[in-house]
């Protein structure tokens, strides 16, 4: 079985993101990491393999050559090979899902296991769009994944507004990972060294000839206003009044 895991490069969620005077993200001090949800997805693919399934894991990123750093990390974590779809401009979920669909048609993975969203733009669309493009089932917000012994279906527990829901999807399918699915492992040093010799292939995005999509235009970036200092309230009544009259949230 083949699992495809898309990898996005994002700023370290624990770091501070600043804007340049020109209104762009200031990249000077940014530490780039794998999108945490993608890391969870990759970890899950590795665990499925460790549980005894015969699985090949393919990590795919769509970005500049700088993204190879995150693909190498994915290889060090346990992906078998990696693919960089090289393209310069940042892409939106519409385009990304088309690129991934093109790769999926070539590679024919049984599962596309991906983050439910990226922590930079928090779009939460790519998995759903991809499933629609490929016309295959989807199981989003997974907190538990089990494969049936014959490998034809996945039983997925989903985190939904009302609690948890368990569904069964026929493979191939798109599954998106939620926070509680697992805790990714440390990347062991020997694995990092081993990753040097794992295959990482680059292809030009233009080769994939995806159809035009409605473009997303970024008008302006701004940093959130600084948080105002908190205040201690004396009683529940005072709290309710403050919430109602000052914050106007209830």
């Amino acid at each position: 079985m083949k699992i495809l895991v898309p990898i996005k490069r994002v700023p370290d969620p624990y770091g501070r993101v600043r804007l340049t005077p020109g209104g762009h993200v200031d990249e000077t001090d940014i530490k780039w990491v794998i999108n945490p949800f993608d890391e969870i997805a990759l970890e899950e693919a590795i665990r499925l393999r460790e549980a005894g399934h015969d699985i090949e894991i393919l990590a795919v990123a769509i970005g500049t050559t700088a993204w190879e750093e995150q693909l190498r990390t994915a290889l060090a974590m346990g992906a078998d090979r990696a693919l960089l779809i090289q393209q310069e401009a940042p892409a939106d979920p519409g385009r990304i899902s088309h690129y991934l669909a093109a790769i999926a048609r070539q590679e024919q993975p049984q599962i596309i296991l991906m983050g439910k969203q990226a922590i930079d733009d928090d779009c939460n669309q790519t998995g759903q769009r991809l499933a629609a493009l490929l016309q295959i089932p989807q199981a989003t917000f997974a907190s538990r994944i089990e494969l049936t012994p014959d490998g034809t279906c996945a039983r997925v527990t989903r985190e939904v507004d009302t609690g948890r829901e368990t569904i069964e999807v026929t493979l191939p399918a798109v599954i998106t990972a939620d926070l509680r699915l697992n805790e990714p492992r440390y990347v062991a040093l020997p694995a990092i060294i081993k990753a040097r010799s794992k295959p990482l292939l680059r292809i030009d995005a233009a080769q994939l000839q995806i159809p035009p999509t409605a473009p997303v235009t970024t008008l302006r970036l701004e940093t959130p206003p600084p948080r105002r200092a908190g205040r201690r309230v004396g009683s529940v009544d005072e709290l309710i009044t403050a919430l109602r009259e000052e914050a106007r949230v209830i």
Binding site: R16, T28, D29, E69, R72, Y186, A188, L189, P190, I192
Partner: protein, 598 residues
């Protein structure tokens, strides 16, 4: 293979260096950063949550943490691949040490095992010995200890009394003696024990289970409460001859391991300093007095800037030295029969630099930990914040693996020994420096092209001053530096300042040439370092010169023919740039970044 910048150890005294070939953290590869990240995450997620138990001296837990580190490969970085390790370069292993340091007990346990306990075997063992033990040490299946010190011999380690006597049938030695302050004693399976065979010091690989090995109780220590420190008692312990490392070479094995140990401990200090700066910055921004965060008070800003500048200086030295060490260690074939001779030469080559970072790093750590308590005020004096513990723990570093007094003297002795051997012509260079100073009148405030040029100029001035002192102090009849330790120590301080200044200049120059986005911050930190190091050199040189002229009363440093000297010294003590402004600007970056801004 990385290229060495200096022609050889101590070479920084003879030339200003080549910026573009000097390694600094900006040159880390993605792979190195990833390795650093694993070490950092392991520390943050697995070690730090256990601090209360570590501090109670739960050695079983410490042992388990070491084994976990072993499964991640964090114990095998220095061990070559043929012996089950990863054979990573020193630039990478320094980064690992840096990332592990914020829990100092764990870091010391790690260093004692991976460096001082393992390297005598790696450097001086035979292929069979290395095959037998190194894989177990690299994986963490076994933890090791370095047993050199004794109750009566710490600094004077080679005066050790533990004896090894060959059995009549020649199959084994019998070891008898008592080792003191042995780190990792509670759980180590292998002890690298130094003992005397006749009169020659030899290192032995002693397994915990050999009959006759026993232990004292845990020492009650000022800090490092999480490390195990015990006496190791050897009562007629039979040690097979196969477990003796090159007989009679034990003192080399100890000193070579300690060179790398000093380097690695201070690589750790870089991480400790960064951690303290972060903790202090966070606190200083939260704690308010007189209507504003204490981070806005000038004297607190001064402290934060100093901490930041010292971190920058040490980091610049450590990674430059790491590259130099790699240049001599990397070409060695670890399982070749003549490997010991090569390791021996390589591990000695940069002893001077290892000693310099030992002195500067441990003293910067002491200063930083002390100021960290000060910034935290009364809270700093309690256990609520990690600074009190950091202060207790770091204090060891000025004592362990060579007390700083010994190390200062060693810096000067090693340089002069190399000079006598014709390998480092400092006295020639010193004589030329003296002549230059005698025949010219130096401008008291030279024209510098820009701020970076000031750093360059000061680095060169301090280097010249170090050469001059080395020459004058050994030229005059009647001065014996061995007897006049105070002068040797002061000269060592000038030499240390020269290395720090040059390393910082090389890094700043490189970042400027590469138009690195962090160059402006680096320049600010470099300027603060330059002023502080120049002043330190000025003070130390004054001490040495005034002491020397009283000993040799024919010399008057401040008059003919040494007129240039006072001008040189003046340049090290008067600056055009306001120290206050530089520090405030640097602090602004620290506050903005919430810690070390480079």
């Amino acid at each position: 293979m990385p290229e060495t910048l200096s022609p050889a150890g101590g070479g920084f005294l003879l030339e200003p260096g080549d910026p573009l070939r000097t390694f600094s953290p900006e040159d880390f590869t993605a792979e190195q950063r990833l390795i650093g990240q694993t070490a950092e995450e392991f520390l943050r997620n697995t070690v730090l949550p256990q601090v209360p138990r570590i501090e109670q001296g739960d050695h079983a837990l410490m042992h388990r943490l070491m084994q976990q580190a072993g499964t991640l490969g964090l114990l095998g970085a220095d061990v070559p691949e043929v012996y089950g390790g990863l054979g990573l370069p020193q630039t990478t292993t320094a980064l690992i040490a840096e990332k592990l340091n914020p829990q100092q007990s764990f870091a010391l346990t790690h260093e004692a095992h991976t460096v001082i306990a393992t390297l005598p075997l790696l450097f001086f063992g035979t292929h069979e010995q290395k095959q037998r033990y190194l894989p177990r040490l690299a994986s963490g299946e076994w933890i090791a200890s370095f047993a050199l010190s004794e109750a009566g011999s710490g600094s004077d380690a080679l005066a050790l009394q533990t004896r090894a006597v060959l059995s009549p049938d020649g199959t084994h030695y019998r070891l008898t003696g008592e080792k003191m302050w042995i780190t990792n004693a509670a759980f180590a399976q292998l002890f690298t024990v130094f003992a005397r065979v006749d009169d020659r010091v030899t290192a032995f690989l002693v397994e915990r289970d050999f009959p006759g090995v026993s232990f004292g109780k845990e020492e009650h220590k000022l800090g490092m409460h999480g490390t195990s420190t015990r006496r190791v008692i050897l009562d007629n312990v039979p040690v097979p001859v196969e477990n003796a490392l090159e007989v009679g070479k034990g003192h080399y094995a100890a000193l070579c391991a300690l060179n790398l140990g000093r380097f690695k401990l201070e690589a750790g200090t870089v991480g400790g300093l960064k951690y303290l700066l972060e903790v202090c910055t966070t606190y200083a921004q939260q704690r308010r007095t007189f209507g504003k965060p204490i981070a806005q008070h000038g004297l607190i800003q001064h402290k934060l800037a100093t901490l930041c500048a010292q971190t920058f200086a040490l980091e610049s030295m450590i990674y430059r030295l790491a590259q130099d060490l790699d240049s001599v260690l990397a070409p060695i074939v670890p399982d070749a029969p003549d490997a010991p001779a090569h390791y021996h030469r390589a591990a000695e080559e940069f002893a001077i630099e290892c000693n310099i970072v030992k002195v500067l790093g441990s003293e910067a750590y002491s200063h930083a930990a002390d100021e960290a308590i000060q910034i935290h005020g009364g809270y700093g004096y309690t256990e609520e914040f990690p600074v009190a513990r950091a202060w207790r723990d770091q204090r060891l570093l000025r004592i362990g693996e060579g007390a700083n007094e010994i190390v200062r003297i060693a810096i000067v002795n090693q340089i002069l020994r190399r000079d006598r051997a014709g390998r480092l012509t400092v006295r020639d260079a010193g004589q030329k420096a003296a002549q230059a100073l005698a025949s010219t009148t130096l401008p008291a405030s030279p024209l510098y092209a820009d701020a970076l040029d000031v750093i360059r100029g000061l680095a060169e001035d301090v280097r010249q001053l170090a050469l001059l002192l080395l020459f004058q102090a050994t030229e005059q009849p009647g001065t014996d530096l061995q007897e006049m330790q105070e002068i040797a120590g002061a000269i060592a301080d000038v030499i240390c300042a020269a290395y720090a200044l040059q390393s910082v200049h090389l890094r700043c120059q490189k970042l400027r040439t590469r138009e690195h986005p962090r160059y402006p911050v680096a320049l600010l930190a470099g300027q603060v370092v330059a002023q502080d190091c120049a002043r330190a050199a000025h003070t130390a040189a004054g001490y040495a010169l005034d002491s020397l002229s009283e000993l040799v009363d024919t010399i008057d440093w401040w008059n003919e023919p040494f007129t240039g000297l006072s001008a040189l010294l003046d340049r090290l003590d008067r600056f055009d740039e306001s120290p206050l402004r530089l520090r405030r600007e640097l602090t602004a970056h620290v506050l903005e970044r919430g810690g070390y801004p480079l």
